[in-house]
Amino acid sequence: MDTKAQLNQPIYDVGIKKRMNTLEKMWWLILSAVFILGVYSIIDGFLLQGMSSTNLSNTVPWGGWVAFYIYFIGMSAGSFLLSTLVYGFGMEQYEKIGRSALLSAIVSMITALTFIFLDLGRPDHVFNSVIYWNVTSTMSWEIHFYIVYLILLVTELYLTMRGDLIKLSKTSQGVKSKIYQILVFNKKEMTDIDKGKDRKLLKILGIIGIPLAIFGVHGGTGSIFAVLKARPFLNSGLFPIIFILSALVSGTALAIAIYVIKNKVQKKPIDVTMVKALGGMLALFLVIELGLEWYEFLIGSYGLQHEELATMKLMTTSAWSWSFWLFQMGLAMVFPLTILFVKKTRQSVNWILAAAIMTIVGVVGVRFNMVVPSLIVPQLEGLPQGNYYPNLSEWITTIGLLAMCLLIYTIGEKLLPIEEDETSENGVSQHE
């Protein structure tokens, strides 16, 4: 921000303050209403009726909530890996989205865990999964990885904004100031030694974090599905890699969407070069993902294995095929790729935003196609063919949890110094 812009700031602010207030009120109101509706649905369905409130059956034991769980795990993966560009590899050009990517990684992780918690039949037994560790179970490993990963994310976010938090604890008033004081353990000054320590810690966390995120959390979540030899369509070595790739796709798209929408609403200038670079990155990830998908289908169909062919046929030609063609291939692949390849559209922030939103919506279909089709195909000839669509209760709960996700993110943005203050002497600019 140059001096001129800084001078203009107060006048600029007064004009939009009123509009911002009403907009913000609407945002809170709608989200809270949807969230409360979701909580009602959780109490009515999950707590009072158990799993019978869903459309799940013995043939299709996993459904919408599992799909959304891996959707958000993927979101978290992508966001975190994007943030490592800034904190791990020192790419300054992306630092504007560094903290917000970390925050969205944390929020996505919380949402993902809420989804999978709701999918448990016995939430009262949930701690057994931590107490009794089955070393051959991918899921058991994942549960432990998730806990470590979440702690790592929170620590990393905290370290990146510690300097700003100390500043805030001095400048803000009342309860807020108290909260900040507690958050920084009553620390008054950020010395150079502190900064050096934080920098070192961040680097260590990055070194642990990147493999933990890629192989532990995200490749691992893909492995939960890939190890299932009972489902030949999932049982492939490429599956965890495709999972990571679609995570990168959705994470990049999410970062673009958050950054552009936030700045548009707040009428702040948009860093067009960065958005374009992110758009290019999105295109790259999409192309790699498309290539991997091609091999997955090529080699899968070449094997002529009955169940695998049946799953592919189900995905591409059955009554569910709209989810594959429209969401997975259309919204999450061809449409955004076209936008990001055509010269006219790939230069425009609005078009890139459109591509990002399409991807975010489309990846929901990708995740559903990872879970449901292979469960619908019976394991043995003669067993009943499954049938699954999420029912109303599942959808309301899902939308309620999406609202919860956005609420937590907004609260995080409001309370914490997520926006990089460029005049600040702390934060990323110091780390390189």
């Binding site: 799993m51 034991p61 179970s137 299932l228 489902r231």
Partner: protein, 298 residues
């Protein structure tokens, strides 16, 4: 005479010549005061021991009792007592003769009655497939209990070790530990696992909720909303509670064509072991390496 003949005897003929001078085992043993059948069985199994098909310990285990009763004090040699505490009890298994199965679903019904499975859940099903096209058509019935695999995919993936392999070969579930994530259901290649959604037959059948399924010999009292096993995964356990009191699984006992056989695969002389050695024997999805303990005869 062979010197001038152009016809040389075949190898088989040489064998026959040897056989001609061999004494007939049955006749020889008939002359002795001791059990003929025992002698013949022992001779047959001794050949298997030499061929490495049976372990010597198993051989001794099978015959020691009958040898002592036959020869009394004269019999001194016996199986070596192993010092480590290895499991020596039965390892249960099942053989299903598909030629005998008529697809009447008696096993399914008796299983449901025995294990009080709720609507939509059946530990045992009979899969029916039509093969060929008219007029060359046949129907194949494939009864499918849990395979009680020796390398169970479900146990491999269970995050809490709630699903485990018992020493007697049965794959069991500790419903009090199960978190209900249903990963095992997704992992089972045979679709043999079901989730207890908590519904019941109380409306059609008074008293359904009076008793919880007696699985694993546990008395859980009344079946109630929110009480285990609701919200957990359930499966066939070869009617473990019946085995404990010396009865066969319900499906085996009620099979009208006697198509099902149940017994100890650890005992090479058991009916199931002998049937499983038949060339008709096969196991489902052998290629997955799950090593099922349910053997089919085609």
């Amino acid at each position: 005479m062979g010197l001038f003949s152009k016809v040389a005897p075949s190898i088989k003929e040489f064998g026959d010549m040897v056989n001609n001078i061999l004494p007939d085992g049955e006749k020889e043993l008939e002359q002795s005061p001791y059990d003929t059948k025992l002698g013949l069985d022992m001779a047959r199994d001794a050949r298997k021991v030499i061929a490495g098909k049976i372990k010597i310990e198993d051989f001794h285990k099978v015959y020691s009792a009958s040898l002592i009763s036959e020869f009394g004090d004269h019999f001194v040699s016996g199986p070596e007592v192993s010092k480590d505490k290895k499991y020596t009890g039965p390892k249960w298994g099942m053989v299903i003769d598909l030629k005998k199965c008529i697809g009447c679903d008696t096993c399914t019904v008796s299983c449901k009655a025995e294990n009080r499975t709720p609507p939509g859940m059946s530990y045992n099903v009979v899969l029916e497939t039509e093969l060929g096209s008219y007029p060359n058509i046949s129907v194949m019935n494939l009864p499918r209990p849990c395979m009680q695999c020796d390398k169970p995919a479900c146990v491999q993936v269970c995050p809490t070790r709630a699903s485990f392999k018992m020493e007697n070969g049965i794959v069991a579930i500790d419903n009090d530990r199960c978190i209900g994530c249903r990963y095992c259901m997704v992992a089972c290649p045979y679709g043999a696992r079901s989730y207890d959604f908590g519904n019941g037959y109380e409306e059609e059948m008074t008293g359904y909720d009076e008793i919880t399924s007696p699985e694993y010999g546990m008395d859980r009292g009344k079946r109630k909303k929110g009480k285990v096993p609701e919200g957990t995964v359930r499966k066939c356990n070869f009617c473990f509670h019946r085995l404990e009191r010396g009865e066969e699984p319900a499906c085996v006992e009620t099979c009208i064509g006697d198509a099902r056989f149940f017994g100890d695969f650890n005992d090479p002389n058991s009916v199931v072991s002998k049937l499983a050695a038949s060339p008709r024997a096969f196991r489902l999805k052998e290629e997955l390496g799950t090593q099922p303990r349910v053997v089919y005869l085609r």
